[in-house]
């Protein structure tokens, strides 16, 4: 089984640019306690630097004082390990669509120092062409806002070495301007790991400085030369932490991957360079935010069912506006999420400036499978997402309860025979051609008891309007209409076990002018009420 190593050079730099896009193209370096090869933490040093800082001469492992002396205009950002760990996990989640076995290791964990680069290992699915797989992976990672290099080989070490050392074929080896930022996919042929590793420098092995110098003195400079050394005959072996370096150099390194299981809450953040006071400019920032969230959900095999957008002001605790998004059906389309947010935001008024955005997934659900129809006769321009957006706009304009669907309730009380519910997409046809089971009754058999046997379209007047003159006249819309005929009564007597028993005699009455009304007499008080109009 083949292994792909996704190597993310200058990972902390990439994270900061991704979170604050205005840093792109600027000279800055991330500083912190860098991890040393021996595992001990060194003093404050440059962990990673941007391309502009690299061009000015800043390099990882320099002390902050050295870097300041070389490039005084460079900005320095303190490393945030939890942020990097969170971003690494988020990236791994979004890659779950590429492979079910992903190993992110213990990088940026609390007991580890910050590192310039990080690597994620993926097991290639069977029967996939490695080069095409790697290129697709690179493209998807780039869409998520990362630059990466990929190496594919039979074992972890060779894959990593291929990712780290490969360079674009069109670039000369002396082109230092590219530095660690080139995106390349290198595939090592099956069974060709030893041959590939042989000319590579010995520096790739995490040997101690003392051992390295000793080997150099002996004329061992490449991995191939190291692999050909006779195995030590005494107790000391070329290994550390259970890893045999000679096996690594021979292309027979470990192939095991520890599968990664996502468990964190899905949340993505974005910081703005300048405070924003209007909503319109935010639209441009929302798309990448929504796309990242959707990619992570896709990796988990889930879709967005409910989310909250945070508009964060200068005072994070007090100035924070929350916007709830509730698509009518679980969605994985970033554009649909943005449309919903825009519809919601379009009606909102901000009382503070915005310095950051956050999108938190509060509920996820299994995505609906799109059923394609051979006889696709619907208008191509109509889409479920457009209905969702329209509903979101109506809710934003007139309130959460302004738009919805009606659910019938089995009740004797006419006014209690339904309730309004949030709009949700209607059932779709399943693959077998059978409609899915309805979630709520809408058939005549489920109609309230009072509806059985009467005809016509009833408009309900709720609450019922008192009729001072009883069955002699109906007062409606400012008119008093004399009753000329009536039919009834139909008695409803129920809910006697509650504090508000239902005791009514219902009549259908006809008035002058042809109006037909639904009137009831409350048995307890003897008063008459207008409860509906047949129209």
């Amino acid at each position: 089984m083949r292994i792909a190593c996704l190597h993310l050079p200058s990972f902390p730099v990439q994270i900061h640019v991704r979170m604050a896009p205005h840093l792109a193209g600027k000279a800055f370096a991330v500083t912190g306690e860098a991890a040393t090869q021996s595992g001990r933490r060194s003093q404050q040093a440059v962990i990673a630097c941007s391309r502009a800082a690299w061009a000015e001469g800043v390099r990882p492992h320099m002390t902050v004082a050295q870097a300041r002396a070389i490039a005084p205009d460079t900005a320095f950002i303190t490393a945030d390990l939890s942020l990097y760990r969170h971003a690494l996990v988020a990236l791994a989640e979004s890659l779950l669509g590429h492979s079910v076995t992903i190993d992110v290791g213990e990088q940026y964990g609390p007991e580890h120092g910050a590192r310039s680069h990080c690597s994620i290992y993926l097991r290639l699915p069977p029967r996939r062409r490695a080069q095409k797989y790697g290129e697709q992976l690179l493209a998807d990672v780039a869409r998520s806002g990362y630059r990466a290099r990929i190496g594919i080989a039979d074992d972890r070490f060779t894959a990593w070495a291929a990712a780290v050392t490969s360079r674009p074929s069109s670039l000369p080896r002396s082109d230092s301007a590219v530095g660690p930022f080139a995106q390349v996919c290198k595939v090592v042929a099956r069974g060709g790991s030893a041959a590939y590793l042989a000319p590579l420098p010995l520096d790739l092995l995490p040997l101690s400085e003392e051992v390295r110098q000793m080997l150099s003195t002996l004329g061992v400079h490449t991995l191939g030369e190291f692999a050909e050394l006779p195995p030590p005959t005494v107790g000391r072996r070329w290994m550390a932490g259970g890893v045999d370096y000679q096996k690594l150099a021979s292309g027979m390194g470990p192939t095991e991957l520890v599968p990664f299981t996502p468990s964190d809450t899905i949340v993505e953040h974005l910081e703005l360079e300048n405070p924003v006071t209007e909503i319109e400019p935010l639209s441009f920032m929302l798309r990448p935010l929504a796309d990242r969230v959707c990619e992570r959900l896709y990796g988990r095999g889930q879709a967005l069912a409910r989310a909250t957008l945070f508009l964060i002001g200068p005072d994070r605790d007090r100035q924070q506006t929350e916007v709830d998004i509730h698509p009518a059906r679980p969605t994985l389309a970033g554009r649909a999420v943005v449309d919903l947010i825009r519809a919601q935001l379009g009606e909102a008024e901000l009382d503070h400036r915005i310095l950051g955005l956050g999108l938190l997934v509060t509920e996820s659900a299994e995505p609906e499978i799109e059923e394609l129809d051979l006889f696709d006769y619907r208008d191509a321009t109509s889409s479920p997402e457009s209905v969702d957006v329209a509903v979101a706009r109506l809710r934003a304009a007139f309130g959460d309860h302004a738009a919805g669907t009606a659910e019938l309730i089995d009740s004797y009380r006419p006014e209690g025979a339904y309730r309004m519910a949030p709009y949700s997409a209607p059932c779709r046809t399943s693959k077998s051609g059978q409609r899915k089971k309805r979630r709520r009754p809408t058939r005549a058999s489920a109609l309230p008891h009072v509806m059985h046997g009467f005809s016509g379209a009833l408009r309900l007047i709720d609450p019922p309007a008192p009729l001072p003159r009883g069955l002699r006249a109906v007062d409606h819309e400012g008119q008093s209409l004399a009753v000329i005929a009536s039919r009834g009564p139909t008695r409803i007597e129920a809910e006697w076990w509650t504090g508000d028993p239902l005791e009514r005699d219902y009549y259908e009455v006809e008035t002058t002018g042809g109006g037909r009304y639904w009137v009831f007499r409350h048995l307890g008080s003897g008063r008459y009420y207008l409860h509906g109009i047949f129209d």
Partner: protein, 249 residues
């Protein structure tokens, strides 16, 4: 995966076209008129110029209390949501829509979006829905003593035309909706025991003249099979003759 499936479907369609060049992929029979959504009332469809409520047009359905305008609109919604499995919306400007009654008339409530805006927001809600292109029929129930200004009606008419959405406005008096493409005047006929509705098509009829019919809208009772033939024509008046007064209006 989605793209591959779509390619597969397109490929299948192409193969079928090669085998049977005359094959059509439209499972719905052609509408009697062009671009008409059936009202669910065959008698009414026959006299409407487009064979039903016109897609992309603004239709006014006017009638006083108990005239049957709500039943007519809900029957059309039932036809769309049940037979066509399309989506419809009802803007309940009077806050009087009774969903159990709509269900009794055959409306699939899952496919009906009910919107309850304030009176001042009715036109805006209608425009949002029309522009979404997601609904085949949108019914606007105007509050009593409320009319749609000409400028607003024109705006909605344009939006409906652009999105090919059928827009029907229920109002109390004929003429409350300026600039309507078609006007249906609905009046109560019959009595308490045998209620019926007279529908006069004053604009948008097949012949271009006043055409009327008296229809038993209430033949469709609860428990009836959805999609069953409904609304038999009780009486058909000759063109140009008002069904109630019996004379030329």
């Amino acid at each position: 995966m989605k793209a591959v499936s779509r390619e597969l479907i397109d490929g299948l369609k192409e193969s079928l076209r090669r085998i049977a060049p005359t094959a059509t992929f439209d499972p719905e029979p052609a509408a009697p008129g062009e671009g008409g959504l059936s009202t669910g009332l065959a008698a009414l469809d026959q006299i409407l110029a487009t064979g039903g409520l016109a897609a992309g047009k603004l239709t006014e359905i006017a009638g006083g209390p108990s005239s049957g305008k709500t039943a007519l609109a809900l029957t059309a919604i039932a036809s769309i949501t049940t037979k066509g499995a399309g989506l419809a919306a009802f803007i309940d400007g009077r806050d009087q829509l009774y969903p159990p009654a709509a269900a009794a008339l055959g409306v699939d409530l899952e496919r009906l979006l009910v919107v309850k805006p304030p009176a001042s927001g009715i036109a805006r809600a209608a425009e949002i829905l029309v522009r979404s292109r997601g609904f085949e029929l949108i019914v606007v129930d105007l509050p009593a003593q409320h009319r749609l200004a000409r400028s607003v009606a024109h705006r909605l008419r344009t939006a409906a035309h652009q999105t090919r959405t059928a827009l029907a406005v229920l109002c109390n008096r004929a003429g409350d909706v300026d600039a309507a493409h078609a006007r249906l005047e609905v009046r109560a006929a019959g009595d308490l025991d045998a209620p019926a509705t007279a529908v006069s098509v004053r604009k948008g009829s097949r012949t271009g003249e006043l055409v009327s019919a008296v229809i038993d809208l209430y033949a469709f009772r609860s428990g009836a099979r959805a999609g069953a033939p409904i609304a038999p024509v009780l009486e058909r008046t000759p063109p140009g003759v008002d069904p109630i007064s019996g004379g030329v209006p």
